[in-house]
Amino acid sequence: MGTMNTDRLTEKLVPAIRDSVTSLPQPTADALRSAKESADGGAAVQLEAMLEATDIGEREATPICQDTGVPTFFVEIGRSSPYVEDIGELESVFTNAVRRASEEVPLRPNTVHPLTHDNPGDNTGRHVPYIDYHMADGEDITIHYLPKGGGSENMAQLTMMTPGRGIEGVKELVLERVASMEGKPCPPTVLGIGIGGGANIAMNLAKESILRPVGERHEEPEIAELEEELTEKANALEVGPMGVGGQPTVLDVKIEYAHRHPASFPVGIIPQCWCNRRAAVSIDPDGSVEVIE
């Protein structure tokens, strides 16, 4: 068993958080660029502004969007990692990294007490940074950071669907949601969809599915096909960039599922805005920390 070098991890995490809010992952930037090439009218004006904002963010190392989200981490713990016993250290490492990034980047102070409105000013608070841990195969520990804006998060929806509606019911729910959200989640979005499990599981799967890169299909062909069908049909709605009409409405649709209770068919939908920010670092068995996204 090794001992995790928490200082080294913090030193990698702070710039990773900075990069996550000042640049876009390559597949997202490429998708926006290719959308811009075939867009016209108001849609083209919006896409051009998105690309320009991305360029400025990268060039000047300033947040592309002022809403730098509520700090959320997803940790995949490789069962064979020599640092499994040190997982308890991560919470304080993340809190320190978020505090430093809040001041150094800076990030907008976004954590507000629901009753008193008290804002600690450093993006920490009760259950924040929020950390989702799960076990995975392999010997690496992978840490994902997802700074997601409130505008897209406010459009999330959970439906405890009548199971008899089946997969057609899922398609209807997704398309009806895309139609009713219009421009509010800052389209073109990446739609995260979680099917099955229970209420919280469907929502968690929906959120996690957003971490999969734009353009990358689900490993199971039936799910991959459903992702493609919903991408095409969502775009046929012509909500358009920022809801001004035209193309595209979604950059991608991501679906993840869990087995469900026979009487329940939860469908979670969480849209991610065009500013599809994230970071990921991985801790190798030898203790080195690599920024992987």
């Binding site: 002022q66 809403d67 800076p106 907008r108 012509e238």
Partner: protein, 196 residues
């Protein structure tokens, strides 16, 4: 692209139509939910408002800021979702004579009617493009209610140069691009669902 300057010319604003792109040079002020509530309460109480809100566009935005050499600096300032301010805007226009509202996602019938009454427009700044907006903000002229409301909710008076591109999506002639797009989406949804 039309280039508006402040103090705003009421006639020039009233002439803007849905689909017109434009920029603003001069001053704008930010106001989100809490700032609207605060400003209206101050007006109601007969207290003096520190700036003439009728002269400048109102930007629905909560910026990221820092201090450089003791002066406030706007780091990123994209628009927030405007519909949350629907409950305030008709009263806001009556109280202060504000003519241009800028945000994202559009607003609804009460604001559209008030825009008609006051010869105003609602314009959309591309959501998420906070760095682009910040690039056009030259200086923080002043900030009001900062201690009481906090950074994102305070009223920031900003000096801007060619701030935009802004797209008129609701005008003073009763037109709303949001309504047109909504109708089209509804029609498309029926077609797509019948083909599942």
């Amino acid at each position: 692209m039309k280039e508006l300057t402040t103090p705003l010319d009421p006639e020039e604003v009233a002439e803007l139509e849905v689909g017109d792109p434009f920029t603003v040079s001069g001053k704008i002020f930010t106001a989100r939910d809490a700032a609207h509530e605060k400003l209206l309460a101050e007006h109601e109480a007969g207290n003096e408002i520190p700036v003439d809100l009728g002269k400048y566009p109102c930007y629905h935005s909560g910026p990221v800021v820092n201090k450089k050499d003791g002066r406030w600096n706007i780091v990123s300032a994209g628009p927030t979702t405007s519909i949350r301010m629907e409950m305030f805007e008709p009263d806001f226009m009556d109280a202060f004579g504000t003519r241009i509202f800028i945000g994202k996602g559009g607003m609804a019938e009460d604001t559209l009617a008030a825009l008609g009454k006051h010869g105003g427009v609602y314009a959309q700044f591309t959501g998420g493009a906070g760095s682009l907006a910040a690039a056009s903000i030259k200086e923080v002229d002043d900030v009001f209610y900062l201690d009481e409301l906090g950074i994102p909710e305070a009223v920031w008076l900003l000096d801007v140069e060619e701030y935009g591109p802004l797209l008129v999506t609701m005008d003073s002639h009763g037109n709303s691009l949001h309504d047109e797009v909504s109708e089209n989406i509804e029609k498309n949804l029926e077609a797509v669902k019948s083909d599942l």
